[in-house]
């Protein structure tokens, strides 16, 4: 079953996607599914474990479930400091 979600891309992901945010209808059960199905958008060759994900402004796990109306934030490997 397709879910309507908003996806936000950051840093290198945003540059590759050419936009910071888009609304999508996607058949995804978990955050991991979103990441995998959007590889053509964020363009990452990084192992998923190097990246992070947040759902509705809360840090989440890759196996967190996705619900209709969620905003999914895809973070490339972080490098603060």
């Amino acid at each position: 079953m397709k879910k309507n979600i908003t996806v936000r891309y950051f840093a290198g992901f945003r540059e590759h996607a050419g936009l910071g945010e888009e609304d999508l209808s996607i058949d995804a059960a978990t955050a991991s599914d979103v990441y995998e199905q959007l590889k053509h958008r964020h363009g990452s060759s990084e192992p998923q474990g190097h990246c992070k994900v947040a759902i509705n402004d809360e840090m989440a796990d890759w196996n967190s479930p996705i619900n209709d109306g969620d905003t999914v934030l895809l973070f490339p490997p972080v490098a603060g400091g």
């Binding site: 950051f10 990084e46 972080v78 490098a79 603060g80 400091g81």
Partner: protein, 151 residues
């Protein structure tokens, strides 16, 4: 935890941690270096997703306070374009004795670097630019390269 797009002023931030019961203050500052992994760096650009950087930074500081008997701790991270020599991140900790101030300061900067949604793009003297990989990923890649060389 704070994020700012203007110059970090360590002295002012330190003054916020003053406490008559404090015998030790440890401050860490991350500065923009003129080179990274052999490439000459011109400037750096920090992208910070503020809502979660602050939320996660507060969690890190709370963890430090739970782990070590410290009095106060604070962290401020820059966003935007930074020139060589500028301060990108500051961490300050006060405690009765120095052991825990050192340990907590180290804990906070280590966690901030790998957990907060912050990215940096280096602009090189030679004209191109690139997003900097995280420390752990770089180590991981180094390990893979080393293996390949060994084989």
């Amino acid at each position: 935890m704070r994020v700012t797009d203007s110059t970090i002023e360590p002295e002012k931030l330190r003054d916020e941690l003053l406490d008559a019961a404090a015998g030790a203050y440890v401050g860490f500052e991350g500065w923009i270096r003129n080179q990274n992994e052999g490439q000459a760096v011109l400037r750096l650009e920090y992208e910070v997703y503020e809502p979660l950087a602050i939320k996660e930074g507060e969690i890190v500081i709370a963890e430090a306070k739970a782990k070590f008997p410290i009095l106060h701790a604070q962290c401020v991270h820059r966003s935007g374009l930074l020139e060589i020599g500028e301060c990108a991140v500051w961490v300050g900790v006060t405690s009765a004795h120095r052991d825990e101030a050192f340990a907590a300061c180290r804990y906070i900067i280590d966690q901030v670097k790998v957990r907060l949604p912050i990215w940096k793009k280096e602009h090189y003297v030679e004209g191109h630019s690139g997003w900097v990989n995280c420390e752990r990923c770089a180590e991981h890649k180094d390990a893979r390269s080393a293996k390949k060389v060994a084989v």
